[in-house]
């Protein structure tokens, strides 16, 4: 009981595990919130633009900026009321973008050659962050370095920030730290992620050790564990070799497909590990499950008992049998049937995640363009002239973007101040 009880007490189980329909509802809600904020931003920008025909007069630009004076008087001003509202992102489009950036995050982590637990944690953080925060409010491309840096810290694999920034072109320490608080709050301060990586190591260790015990034939367990014998038979001629091969392939599934797909939300670490094992070598996974969780599974207990019996053979067999019956009752029905189907589903989900890598670039570009239009209303309302006339140099434009970001950050900050722990989780009530 202890194992499952302990897992159910983790935040991963309590706040970050959902059924499929709950998950899609949460995503839908997040998307709705994101579109609402975009609409608000556009409305405000439109008001600002129409209240004065000089859109930039209202935005506070420091006097030192070399804004050319004649810009406002330019006659080719776009009528802000004539510009249509931007097309908003759908939940599916948001998800596509998140998947794309998780893959980029994996690439970024590989640049640093971080261990797989750092990589996994970073990916889970990104996925979790965008579960409750729309891509339309926070563009993942700005968050990726911050998230990876945060993951190095939470996984105890810290590298200095200056070092970190040196490895990525055009990355400044300020840009990394700017979003750190937002990201930490966005993952609800749940920094500990239960990965299937160590679970996988443990499972393979158990499997290999059991196989070697059978091969050596000690402990008289060769007759005691039919599940293990079946496993050995199925994996013949060289079971150990086969398990080791599966181990290598499984690892690659755990560090890519498992991170891109939603398996972390729907399955527990051992289940994900078994799903990856299933993809690596179906026979190994199937026989492993039957051996450990099947009808007459011993869970590694019987060999020990046999040894005891040998020591005191005068013990009456009746008591032993009763003992066994009680043990069986305590264990309850075997897990295998349910677990098999769950693991199969998990494996399927991971396979389907392979498609995310093949998302056409045009599609991504289209979504990103839409997102750009959504996030920068000033550009399309008033500043259109400025962009078209080229009267604004890129520095000023960048400043305006910065102002918009700052405004957004301030709004976010205000919201955060109102509620020190963030709002309620959308899926919670």
């Amino acid at each position: 009981m202890a194992e499952d009880q302990l897992y159910t007490s983790t935040t991963q189980c309590k706040t970050w595990s959902f059924g499929p329909s709950t998950l899609s509802t949460i995503r839908q809600n997040t998307n709705t919130a994101g579109t609402r904020s975009i609409k608000r931003g556009w409305k405000r920008a439109r008001l600002e633009a129409s209240s004065s025909n000089t859109p930039y007069a209202t935005t506070p630009i420091p006097s030192s900026t070399p804004t050319p004076a004649p810009t406002p008087s330019s006659s080719s001003i776009i009528d802000p009321t004539a510009v249509p509202d931007p097309e908003l992102l759908t939940p599916a489009e948001e998800l596509t973008l998140v998947h794309y950036y998780i893959l980029r995050l994996i690439d970024l982590s590989d640049v640093f050659s971080f261990p797989s637990n750092v990589k996994s944690t970073a990916c889970v953080f990104l996925s979790r962050f965008h579960l409750h925060h729309s891509v339309q409010s926070y563009h993942p491309k700005h968050l990726i370095p911050t998230i990876l840096f945060l993951a190095t810290k939470t996984e105890n694999h810290y590298i200095p920030l200056s070092e970190f920034c040196k490895r990525v072109p055009k990355l400044t320490p300020e840009a990394v730290l700017k979003h750190e608080f937002t990201v930490a709050g966005g993952v609800r301060w749940d920094f500990d992620v239960k990965h299937p990586l160590r679970a996988a190591e443990g499972g393979i260790m158990e499997l290999l050790t059991s196989l070697s015990v059978v091969a050596n034939g000690n402990g008289g367990s060769s007759s005691g564990d039919p599940g293990l014998l079946a496993l050995k038979e199925k994996l013949a001629p060289n079971p150990v070799r086969r398990v080791q091969d599966a181990h290598g392939r499984m690892k690659s599934y755990l560090t890519k497909e498992a991170l891109v797909s939603d398996v972390y939300y729907h399955y527990t670490p051992p289940q994900i590990f078994l799903g990856a094992l299933w993809l690596a070598d179906k026979d190994v996974a199937e026989t492993y499950i039957m051996w450990r969780f099947g009808e007459n599974s011993t869970m590694g207990r019987i060999p020990k008992k046999r040894k005891k019996d040998k020591k005191g053979k005068d013990k009456d067999k009746n008591g032993d049998k009763e003992n066994e019956v009680a043990l069986q009752a305590a264990r309850g029905p075997p897990l295998a049937p349910k677990l098999l189907s769950v693991v199969r589903d998990c494996a399927e989900m991971m396979t389907s995640a392979q498609a995310f890598e093949k998302t056409p670039v045009e599609e991504l570009k289209r979504i990103d363009k839409k997102l750009h239009r959504c996030q920068n209303p000033q550009k399309f309302l008033g500043a259109g002239t400025a962009i078209g006339a080229g009267s604004l140099d890129s520095g000023t434009r960048k400043q305006n973007d910065d102002i918009a970001i700052k405004e957004k950050a301030e709004e976010k900050k205000r919201k955060l101040e109102e509620d020190p722990f963030g709002g309620t989780l959308p899926g919670r009530d």
Binding site: T8, T209, G427
Partner: protein
Amino acid sequence: MPSLKSTSATVMSAAIARARENAINRGSGDADEICPVCKSSRYLNPNMRFLVNPECYHKMCESCVDRLFSQGPSQCPVVGCDKILRKHKFRKQTFEDIKVEREVDVRKRISKTFNKRQEDFPSLKEFNDYLEEVETVTFNLINSLDVAATEAKIVAFEQSNKSTILQNAAKAAQEAQFMQAQREFEREQHRRAREIEAEAEAEEKRDKKEHQANLIKALQADDADLEIAKVNKLARKKSSMRKENQERRAKEWEAKNNAPAFQFMANLNRQSEEPSKPYDPLDGYDDTDKYFVYREKYENPWLEEAANNKSMLAGGYIVQQYCERAIFEAFSGVGCFIEDPSPSDEQSSPSLDTPMADAVAV
């Protein structure tokens, strides 16, 4: 002459008593206090008493009350107050602060209606919730917040709990009666004890006197020594008898004291509680592993290296611990199945703290 003296003394003492009463009535003893209705001041009328009516708590002097309300109920004379007051409801103010006076009245009234006891609730938490609600109602009434809604609430509660309110009131009355009886009983016992003691003392004195008289008589006799010895012997016998008597009485008294006054009282304090179970700090948590048994050694070529690497071991790395953790994680949560909470489940347990609570099947 003596009779005259005594009458004058009684007159004097009565005057002092009246003065004292006046001083009490005056409360703060403010000599310039003025009746807000008739504007007569205490300076002119030292015996003036102020009364209030719990309807509106406007203060006025006794003569005003007599004057205004003798012909039956009428409106409060204070400007802007349209409460109809009755004479028999007027009373002396107990507390100087009129707010306190009013709060005490409100609390009295509320406690009459909300007289549930802790036994009426299955657990302490529910009782506390009830108390909290009662306090909210009281607070609302005292501070005149939301009065209409609160009154409606009280009436609704009264309607739905008529029988229990009556029962509890009867119970409280019975208890008060019982307490009274108990107190009386104790007082009576103390009195009896004192009486017995006084009796014993008197007896001792009498015996002593008798002994002395006997001694004098013996001295008058012919062979004085013999007679004296006889008398002394008699006195010793008597005193020892008395002592015995006293001891016996004391014992009886003690026995009586220890015995409960009434039989049902002995049963009252005895609690028919089940013996509480021994405290379990882990609350039933069991750390036996369900799915596996740790082995002494695990096969892992990569770990072999770590186990033989002195620089790692010196740092405190324990291979065994890594193995235990890895094996544990390989099975931790394997029996949890994450599903969407079904609508029926949600209805049956609305107080979930997490959406997962019912969705995990362990």
